[in-house]
C-alpha cells in the first residue's frame, strides 16, 4: 500500500483546478460552477511549486524508513479491516482518534505497550542521530578483506588496549594471511620460528602453508610483523565469543560436583548392596558427565588461550615480481620475455 501525505493527495486537485482554469482562460469558456479568477490560478500554480518540494521532502527515504517493521505491524494489526486507511494516514496514528469503530482507549493502551517494548519514536530518533556505539570486543585484523560475522566482529584493539584486556570474556580468534614473498623457503622458516619468539606451536606445515597456534595476546604483534615480511594480499580474522558456553559449563560443573559429593555421601550411608549399587550407578553417570564437561572446558580454554593463524605464502616469480593486485591495468603481466620467448 502506498504511503501518501496530505500534501501529496492535494496535488492532483490543485493540478486539475489549474488546468481547468487555464483552459477556461485560453478558450474563453465560462463555467458558472467555477469561481476561479485569473489571480487564483496563479496562486494555485504557486502552491504547486511550493508543494512539490515539500511533498518530495515528506517522501524522502530517510523519513519513510523512520518507521520500523514493528511499527508497521502494529498499525496493520490494530486496525482491523482498515489497513489501507491506517497506512494512508500513518503519520497521524499516534494521535487519539476513533477510527473504524476502534476507540482511542485500547489504542492508547496498545500504543503504550508498544512504546514499552520497542521504545518511543523520539528514542529511535535519538538512537539514530547518536553515533553507533562500538562493539564490545576487540579484534586484531586491520584491513582484512575477509571478516568475522557481524555479531562477533570486534573492533581493532589499540596499542593501549590489547586483546588481553577482555577480562571475563572468552573469545576464540581464528586468523589468516596470504602473503606474497620473494623467497618461499625463507618465509616458511621465518613462520616456523615465530612460536619460539611469541610462544605457541606449529600445528601443521606444508609446502606453502603454515598453521600456527599463537597465544591470543600475541596474535596482533605476530600479524603486524608478518605484514612487513612480504606483500599481504589477504588478511582475515574471525572471532567467536564462547563466554556463554563457558559460563554454562562452569555452572553445570559446580552443580554436578555438588551432586557427586552428595552421592558419595549417600554411598557411605548405603546399608544394603542394592542401595550401594544404585548410588554407584548414579555416581558413575555423574562422573562421566563431569569428565565430558571438564574436557570441553579444557578444550575451550585452549582455544581461547591460543589463536589459530593460517599463513599462506606464495612466491613472487620473475614473471610477476611486483603483485599487480592494485593495478587497474595489469596488462604488463602478459608482456615480457617469459610471455614471448619459447623455451
Amino acid at each position: 500500500m502506498k504511503y501518501r501525505t496530505p500534501a501529496q493527495r492535494a496535488i492532483p486537485a490543485f493540478f486539475l483546478n489549474a488546468v481547468r482554469t487555464l483552459r477556461l482562460r485560453a478558450f474563453g469558456e465560462t463555467n458558472p460552477m467555477m469561481t476561479i479568477t485569473r489571480p487564483s490560478a496563479w496562486i494555485v500554480l504557486a502552491c504547486m511549486l511550493v508543494g512539490l518540494p515539500a511533498c518530495k521532502k515528506s517522501m524522502s527515504p530517510s523519513m519513510a524508513d523512520g518507521y520500523s517493521g514493528a511499527d508497521r505491524g502494529y498499525a496493520e494489526e490494530s486496525m482491523d479491516g482498515g489497513g489501507a486507511y491506517a497506512e494512508d494516514d500513518y503519520e497521524s496514528m499516534d494521535e487519539p482518534m476513533p477510527v473504524m469503530g476502534v476507540s482511542a482507549e485500547p489504542m492508547e493502551a496498545i500504543r503504550s505497550e508498544r512504546r514499552r517494548l520497542f521504545g518511543s519514536r523520539a528514542d529511535k530518533k535519538r538512537a539514530k542521530s547518536a553515533p553507533p556505539s562500538p562493539p564490545a570486543e576487540p579484534s586484531a585484523a586491520p584491513g582484512g578483506s575477509g571478516s568475522a560475522a557481524p555479531d562477533s566482529a570486534k573492533p581493532e584493539p589499540t596499542e593501549e588496549q590489547p586483546p588481553e584486556a577482555d577480562e571475563g570474556r572468552q573469545i576464540i580468534y581464528t586468523a589468516g594471511m596470504r602473503i606474497a614473498v620473494f623467497n618461499l623457503q625463507d618465509a616458511l622458516e621465518t613462520a616456523e620460528a615465530l612460536p619460539e619468539r611469541y610462544g605457541g606451536y606449529v600445528q601443521t606445515m606444508s609446502d606453502s602453508q603454515v598453521v600456527l597456534r599463537i597465544p591470543s595476546k600475541n596474535l596482533r604483534p605476530v600479524m603486524t610483523g608478518l605484514a612487513g615480511y612480504g606483500n599481504v594480499e589477504r588478511r582475515w580474522l574471525q572471532s567467536q565469543d564462547v563466554t556463554a558456553e563457558f559460563t554454562d559449563i562452569e555452572s553445570r560443573l559446580k552443580a554436578l560436583e555438588k551432586t557427586h559429593a552428595q552421592l558419595l555421601e549417600l554411598l557411605g550411608k548405603a546399608r544394603t548392596v542394592e542401595e550401594a549399587l544404585k548410588v554407584r550407578e548414579a555416581l558413575d553417570r555423574v562422573s562421566a558427565e563431569l569428565e565430558v564437561l571438564k574436557g570441553r572446558l579444557r578444550q575451550l580454554s585452549n582455544m581461547t588461550a591460543y589463536s589459530t593463524l593460517t599463513l599462506d605464502f606464495y612466491e613472487r616469480g620473475p614473471h610477476n615480481p611486483t603483485p599487480s593486485s592494485n593495478d587497474p591495468f595489469p596488462w604488463v603481466d602478459s608482456l615480457g620475455v617469459e610471455d614471448t620467448e619459447w623455451k
Binding site: F182, N183, G228, T322, L335, D339, E341, K343
Partner: protein
C-alpha cells in the same frame, strides 16, 4: 550493384571484427591466432607475438608507453632504445627495446612495439637469447610496418597520437623486495637504469 554492396558489407564487417593482422614474417611460423593474440615462433626459440587489449578513454600512446615502460622497469627490464614506428595502415606506434637478465642469469633481448588505436592497445613483442637480438631486432621495424591495427576513428583519432616523451626506466625501489634489490645490480652493467635510453625519435 546489390551483390557488390552485399560483398562490401560482408567485407567491412569481417575486417571491422579483426583487432589486428600480421602474417608470419620470414623465419617465423604461427602457433596460434585469436582476436586478441597472435603467437609465432622462430626455429631458434625466439618468440614473436601480438597482444591486444581494449583501450580506454584517455589511453593515448604516451599514457600506455609510460605505463608499460614503468611496469616493465619494475620487473627488471632495462630500456635501451625508444623509436617511432608506423603500422601498415598508418597507426602511430613506439618501439621500446629492453635488456633483461632472467633469474637464472641468462641474458635476453626483448622489444615491444606499442600501438594505441581508439578501440585497442596493441603490443607487438619479440624476445629471445641476447646473442640473437641483433638479427631479430633489425627486422622489427619492418615487421611492425607490416602489422595492421584496427579500431581507429575517422576524426579526433588516437591513432595519430604524438610520440611519447623520451622515457627512462625508473630504478626499482621496492623496499619490501630484497630479491629485486639483489637482481638490480646484475642488470646494471647492461644498462639502462644507470644510462638513459637512446631515443631515435
Amino acid at each position: 550493384m546489390k551483390r557488390f554492396l552485399t560483398i562490401l558489407a560482408i567485407a567491412s564487417t569481417t575486417t571491422a571484427c579483426a583487432t589486428h593482422k600480421l602474417d608470419p614474417p620470414e623465419g617465423f611460423a604461427q602457433v596460434e591466432h585469436s582476436e586478441y593474440a597472435t603467437t609465432m615462433i622462430a626455429p631458434d626459440h625466439v618468440g614473436l607475438n601480438v597482444r591486444v587489449w581494449s583501450n580506454v578513454k584517455g589511453g593515448s600512446l604516451g599514457f600506455w608507453s609510460e605505463d608499460m615502460v614503468n611496469k616493465l622497469g619494475d620487473r627488471g627490464y632495462a630500456l635501451t632504445r625508444q623509436s617511432p614506428v608506423k603500422s601498415k595502415n598508418g597507426v602511430a606506434g613506439t618501439r621500446f627495446d629492453f635488456d633483461y637478465t632472467a633469474p637464472d642469469g641468462a641474458e635476453k633481448f626483448y622489444s615491444a612495439v606499442l600501438f594505441a588505436s581508439d578501440k585497442y592497445r596493441v603490443v607487438l613483442q619479440v624476445a629471445g637469447d641476447a646473442e640473437l637480438g641483433a638479427r631479430y631486432l633489425a627486422q622489427l621495424d619492418g615487421i611492425a610496418g607490416e602489422t595492421k591495427i584496427r579500431g581507429c576513428k575517422l576524426v579526433n583519432s588516437l591513432c595519430k597520437s604524438p610520440q611519447p616523451r623520451p622515457l627512462e626506466v625508473a630504478p626499482a625501489a621496492d623496499s619490501k623486495a630484497p630479491a629485486a634489490a639483489e637482481a638490480a645490480p646484475a642488470k646494471a652493467p647492461q644498462g639502462s637504469a644507470a644510462a638513459p635510453a637512446t631515443t631515435d625519435a
